[in-house]
Assembly symmetry: C2
Homo-oligomer: 591 residues x 2
Amino acid sequence: MSQRASLSSRLGRAMPILDWGRSYTRDTLTSDMVAAVIVTIMLIPQSLAYALLAGLPPEMGLYASILPLMAYAIFGTSRALSVGPVAVASLMTAAAVGNLALQGTAEYIAAAIVLAFLSGLILLVMGVLRLGFLANFLSHPVIAGFITASGILIAASQMKHILGVQASGHNLIEILHALVIQIPNFSLWTLLIGGGSMAFLFWVRKGLKPALLSLGLAPRLADILAKAGPVAAVAVTTGVVALFGLNEAGVAIVGEVPSGLPPLTVPQFDADVWSSLFVSALLISVIGFVESVSVAQTLAAKRRQRIVPDQELIGLGASNIASAISGGYPVTGGFSRSVVNFDAGAETPAAGAFTAIGIAVAALFLTPLIFFLPKATLAATIVVAVLSLVDLSILKRTWIYSRADFTAVAATIVLTLGFGVEIGVLTGVILSIALHLYKTSRPHIAEVGLVPGTEHFRNILRHKVLTDPRVLTIRIDESLYFANARYLEDYVLDRVVGDNALRHVIIMCSAVNEIDMSALESLEAINHRLDSMGIRLHLSEVKGPVMDRLQRSDFLEDLTGKVFLSQHGAVEEVVALCDTPTEAAQATAAQ
Amino acid sequence: MSQRASLSSRLGRAMPILDWGRSYTRDTLTSDMVAAVIVTIMLIPQSLAYALLAGLPPEMGLYASILPLMAYAIFGTSRALSVGPVAVASLMTAAAVGNLALQGTAEYIAAAIVLAFLSGLILLVMGVLRLGFLANFLSHPVIAGFITASGILIAASQMKHILGVQASGHNLIEILHALVIQIPNFSLWTLLIGGGSMAFLFWVRKGLKPALLSLGLAPRLADILAKAGPVAAVAVTTGVVALFGLNEAGVAIVGEVPSGLPPLTVPQFDADVWSSLFVSALLISVIGFVESVSVAQTLAAKRRQRIVPDQELIGLGASNIASAISGGYPVTGGFSRSVVNFDAGAETPAAGAFTAIGIAVAALFLTPLIFFLPKATLAATIVVAVLSLVDLSILKRTWIYSRADFTAVAATIVLTLGFGVEIGVLTGVILSIALHLYKTSRPHIAEVGLVPGTEHFRNILRHKVLTDPRVLTIRIDESLYFANARYLEDYVLDRVVGDNALRHVIIMCSAVNEIDMSALESLEAINHRLDSMGIRLHLSEVKGPVMDRLQRSDFLEDLTGKVFLSQHGAVEEVVALCDTPTEAAQATAAQ
């Protein structure tokens, strides 16, 4: 985009709706509305269930699925992303807010709203300052490990609803311990409903689609019907409970849910609450952003579209603020619902806006219908949904591929399960950064020699190569910076001490992408110390940007040797220098 | 060293004294003893002064210069390093211990001893676990900035002794503020003694050596005499105070210093004190180690000797523990005294042991002589010594060379001056790591083309090169890891979307030293998305270790294109593929 970008194109970047809105046609409208109907049906039980997971009243799940979708439709760049409550963010909300207040209290609800507001602010600020790159420090394996561990935690936390007992905890051990103690108090009717729903939903996931296909349904329709399984489970179990009055027999039900559109809420401005929720809000924001962007990118690529990560921050930020001011809690782009939206044919974010209207209608008119909805059914939909997130194969894959990645994943999983989501993910991030720094602090350094008959230089330990006892060439496979500067110094000096034949050292820099000030000082020290041993230091294959910078220092003037464009040229000239009588060599050097 | 290393050579590595002790001759003895006498003379006033700086009684400075030197002589690997109290560690001791107790109290002294013990333990553990590399995360510019700022802080903190007033603070602003308020109360005699000593010592530093040389003295003797300046200042001012009874006229004196060898002390085992001193002890240890090693390496290189950094940790650890059990405080290898030791001809660590004997004699017999020693004189020796540490040119050099390094230095200096030594150096370390990660998270990526008439590929923006609209080659100048994996994904997809002519993308990996699991997944995503656009992905010039690892994953099987040894070969083959009819190309691809 040129600097003369017009106002309208700049506005279009800030509010993508102005871009796609212009070319909106009747066909697009039809596609979007069809997708919206399908996603709405799927979202209603999901929103109620995730509110339950977050420890919030069910209507907050619905509220979080109305205005946030509208906000994303205006500011988001993905054509298919569906925003709303998701499992991991709901679990993180419960963990964060649970530290401040008891579930069921007004403070708990207020804190969840503040959390959404704070997440929204953080995302907006990150978007405006273009800090989206910060999310990159969550490595893929850490995210995979974190999501797997969260899935296990969530499934375990829902077992109490399926058994109909009271049991809670902040980590897997606490949850399992509480469950074991409470198992004798289980409620038979609840277990039948919860267990039955779970079995049904697992079958829907694995067996319904093939069955529908064998009945001759179109694959797309079969796919969509299979996604509607939770709605069927909700309808049937609600009916059963209402019919037989099982709520009197110990089956916990959703109960009265206020009808109506979301209330306008003003987040509480309490410095203590804000500061104690800040880290949680940051983690929810960043993790939600990473998940959202990866879903959005996957879907966009299928249609050769693109998303703008920094604008996504703004879209998600606006959604969370919209959630906070309409009685909702933190939202982000969900994987399963976005895929359904995409598969159902959504072409623009307008599909999200139509979905919001659908949920609003549900909030207005359908809440009396879910009075008898058993919590066990909602828990079953959560368990079945999150178990698909659990993928321990990441442990095996990283073990084979990279022990550093394995360590980070394993630590993330173990600590998330053992100490909760926040400690787990923070440790994963810090550990993966530390391991990366450790690796680069001990770079691979190879002593190289000439492969006979070529101009190539290779590791003397791996290849049969030609070397000269008077010339040592080392290739450093890493950028030179403070963490490995002294390592290089030690390596060169250890190698050189006692080697009395040596007269020239060449450092081959083809893989050196940076030389920072510390590394420059180490090179100066190496140059100086080699000089005091009568050995000259040369560099070869220094990259343009690195050379530009070296030229701004005194190093090249102090260097006892030369900088050569190619390693081959370096060795040829240096060996020739060794072969000339000393006087001549000095004369050459003085030039 | 082979696995059959004998017991004696393993012992020799753990206790270097067993190595050099074996070849000790009468000549070496003479050299070492001469050096010891010279260093002893220099060390006596320095030890007293640094104890004053640390807020400790003067005898603790002497104690810290006896057993620690013995311990280092046994376990250290440097032949010339002289261990003892140093300026920066003394300032850090004052800062750390000052948080726990008031100067002059028994708790203050006990905490300083615990600090030495804790530092010793940390250094020993780091040595045993070979964690010396951790010190590398203190970048050269951060250390330079920190030492400069510490020098300024120390000089400012000593002005109260030179003016003869009470004024203290934890940062430059507090210190200057207290001084300004107290200036009207200054003591004329103190100022005359302190100011006079300072002027004399500055002259000694700059003018005495040339004067002695012009009198015909040998340069080495002139050098050593010039280093004895502080002893002259101490002797003269002590005499003047004693003669005229200036201590009655407001000149603060050292007063009674107990005679005798160091007492055996047992560090206090108090969990609260230990945990509150831990971070300080860690910082003192690491900074002391870094300083020590760089001095030791510089001196060792001059004689083609080598030091073993991990063994140095053990040597310094033993010294600090020795200091703690003999009533001393944290010690490390000092720059100026080590240079004097080296210049005076010390050949083995035995010189340090002889110095220790010299100081012990002083502690036994000379303490009555320093009763009238004015604190102002000691402060003057500190000010003159530390001002030589102040080198603001690092700001200019980093500004020219690298803005990231400049930012880290400037922050370290400003925060050390403004908030004290610990916050200053911690921020410097964290900031330099963060800036490094930031740089590598946005790697330099160049689109490259063929330089006509060669097999070289260069940046299309910098060079006139040949390209083919159907083939895109990008060269990534950075290892691929989690922090830049998504950046690469975005870069490739942004570049590719909308370019309908494109059929092949080649990623040139000559500067890619690592591909971690996150980057592998990004490459898989890129491969997959390009595939869905009908574009094939190839790699070229992948390094051996990186290729080894890729072969352990499924990536190479899923890759739609090939991995080429050379970029030139890649382009030749890919262009040929484009030129064959589609059927033929598919047949080739299927092979």
